[in-house]
């Protein structure tokens, strides 16, 4: 039996209760969206891209604590990053939520999502917002659906 507090760490519960950057971003020049048709999780991500840098990012949506908290953490972690940096951060997160291994370089607050790997059905919840944001930043307007992704 996995400990529930491993999945629902206080960081997660906190971000779920008070999601950061939960708003429409008037200055956004990219919008991405994602949904998980199997459970109804739904997210819209707003990105203000300056050159290849994510100057600002916000989200709105509804979904489980994992998806909400992960999206909230995403906004904090991607703000100010170049697309290449953002992709590297996501690669680390993806590895962490699928294997439980925290990347060598400090994942900081993202480490709160490490418990997800013990709940394979929830991995898609943790990656939905990230997918939507990266797609938007890279200019791909297709809505992300978890069925089209392998995680």
């Amino acid at each position: 039996m996995h400990d529930l507090t491993e999945l629902y760490q206080s960081v997660i519960l906190d971000h779920n209760r008070r999601p950061r950057n939960y708003s429409v971003l008037p200055a956004a020049n990219r919008v991405g969206s994602g949904n998980n048709p199997m459970c109804g999780d739904q997210i819209t991500v707003y990105v203000k891209l300056e050159g290849d840098r994510i100057a600002d990012v916000s989200f709105q949506g509804s979904g489980c604590a994992i998806s909400q908290a992960s999206a909230s953490l995403m906004t904090l972690n991607l703000k100010g990053r170049t697309i290449a940096e953002a992709e590297a951060i996501y690669a680390g997160l993806h590895k962490m939520v699928t294997t439980g291994k925290v990347a060598e370089d400090d994942m900081s607050d993202l480490a709160a999502l490490a418990g997800v790997h013990q709940f394979p059905a929830r991995i898609k919840c943790a990656t939905l917002g990230w997918h939507a944001a990266l797609n938007a930043a890279k200019g791909d307007a297709t809505p992300v659906t978890t069925e089209r992704t392998s995680d």
Binding site: L7, R17, M38, C39, G40, D41, C64, A121, C125
Partner: protein
């Protein structure tokens, strides 16, 4: 309740296991029910003694298989009180059955200006096939609404307004998989008949749960899934009035559904063979008949009473003992389905946490996206009871939900 109810749980080997270190409480019966040993044994017996292809064979094994397969048709006809076995078409399940009607009956009989009437609480399986048909034929979709609020009852006062003579077919759910509502099927069929509309009843959630008599109900078609009534996955049936089945063109083409084939055209076998192209799901059909025996041994009145009793108890206790809960569907006269929303906790989190306690629930839109929207929800959690559930299972459900609610409030 008769003797068959004694020691009932021992008939379901799957229930006797630990999940995450706790004894399993299986409350996901609206998704699929568990199978009694006698049904599993019917499968192994078939594969160990009688397996052969049906209909076209005259050796001993093939005759045994054919005989058992056709006896299953008789059994199913009796189970539903159909007029004859020829009114039973074996399919892959409710979804397949409804698609059969929408295709074989629909394309031949609908045209622009005609209306297909559904209700706002239909499962996707009784909605999407009609959307596709509407697109192909130019017919229009129309919906009988539910009343405002959380009881989820059909707004029968609206029926005369939507059930007009342009309605050629009225397809509705008998028992809702989300709301637990039991719709007045006979009344709806009678009303449809008055305007000359045919009726298709989605009986996925009712067939193994309530006494069901297609002639008393007066429906034209009725769709059933085996896996939701103690039978195996991959099998179901369509009941259709014989005259309608006889008049319909085939659905799929292939072996067994023909009377003669030439290189350029073919003649169809009479119904029901016309609708059973290819090698049927022989083993699962035979096992489904065994499930019907099992259910009738328990008695469908008693099963319905058992489900309703548990649902009413769960409704009352959850309402009283779990803070922040919002329960959907009527308080009384309901099936064993209890959907709810826990304030501030997403259904996925409810289900994941309940699973840690060994309690199997379902969370999501329950293939009912438009209804969810209408109710202002994106998903709900659902506990659904069946014949092997007990009051002790409700104790576990209540304490688990209390724990979850506290954890998230905490």
């Amino acid at each position: 309740m008769n003797a068959a109810w004694k020691n009932l749980r021992a008939d379901f080997p799957i229930l006797d296991q630990q999940v995450n270190g706790k004894p399993l409480v299986y409350l996901d019966n609206a998704a699929t029910t568990q199978k009694p040993s006698c049904v599993i044994d019917a499968l192994t017996h078939y594969y160990r003694r009688d397996n052969a292809n049906v209909h076209r064979g005259i050796h001993t094994l093939s005759m045994r298989a054919t005989d058992a397969y056709e006896k299953a048709r008789e059994r199913a006809a009796k189970f539903l009180n159909a007029a004859e076995p020829g009114e039973i078409v074996f399919t892959a399940g409710t979804t397949d059955s409804i698609n059969l009607v929408a295709n074989a009956w629909g394309d031949e009989n609908l045209k622009k200006g005609d209306v297909i009437l559904l209700t706002e609480m239909e499962h996707h399986s009784n909605m999407v096939p009609w959307q596709l048909l509407a697109r192909r034929t130019g017919a229009k979709l129309r919906y009988l609404p539910i009343v405002a609020g959380d009881t989820g009852l059909l707004d029968l006062a609206q029926l005369p307004k939507v059930l007009t003579p342009e309605v050629k077919i009225f397809a509705f759910i008998h028992v809702s998989n989300t709301l637990g509502v039991i719709n007045p099927a006979a009344e709806l069929c009678a009303a449809a008949k008055k305007v000359g509309a045919l009726t298709v009843v989605d009986a996925a959630q009712s067939t193994g749960h309530l006494p069901l008599d297609v002639r008393a109900m007066g429906c034209d078609f009725l769709a059933v899934s085996g896996h939701k009534m103690c039978g195996p996955t991959g099998v179901g049936l369509l009941y259709g009035r014989k005259a309608l089945l006889d008049a319909m063109p085939p659905y799929r083409g292939g072996g067994s559904m023909i009377s003669s084939v030439d290189y350029l055209e073919s003649k169809w076998a009479p119904a029901p063979a016309k609708f059973e192209a290819g090698t049927p799901n022989i083993a699962d059909v035979i096992a489904l008949a065994r499930a019907m025996d099992f259910l009738d041994d328990l008695g469908r009145e008693d099963i319905a009473a058992h489900d309703e009793k548990l649902a009413a108890l769960a409704y009352a206790r959850l309402q009283a003992e779990v803070p922040g809960i919002r329960i959907l569907g009527p308080a009384h006269h309901r099936s064993g389905v209890v959907s709810f929303d826990l304030k501030g906790v997403h259904a996925h989190d409810v289900v994941t946490m309940a699973d840690q306690e060994g309690v199997a629930l379902r969370g999501g839109h329950h293939c009912n996206q438009p209804l969810m929207k209408k109710l202002g929800l994106s998903s709900t959690s659902r506990a659904s009871f069946y014949l092997y559930n007990t009051e002790a299972d409700i104790d576990r459900l209540v304490s688990t939900l209390q724990k979850i609610s506290k954890f998230f409030a905490g």
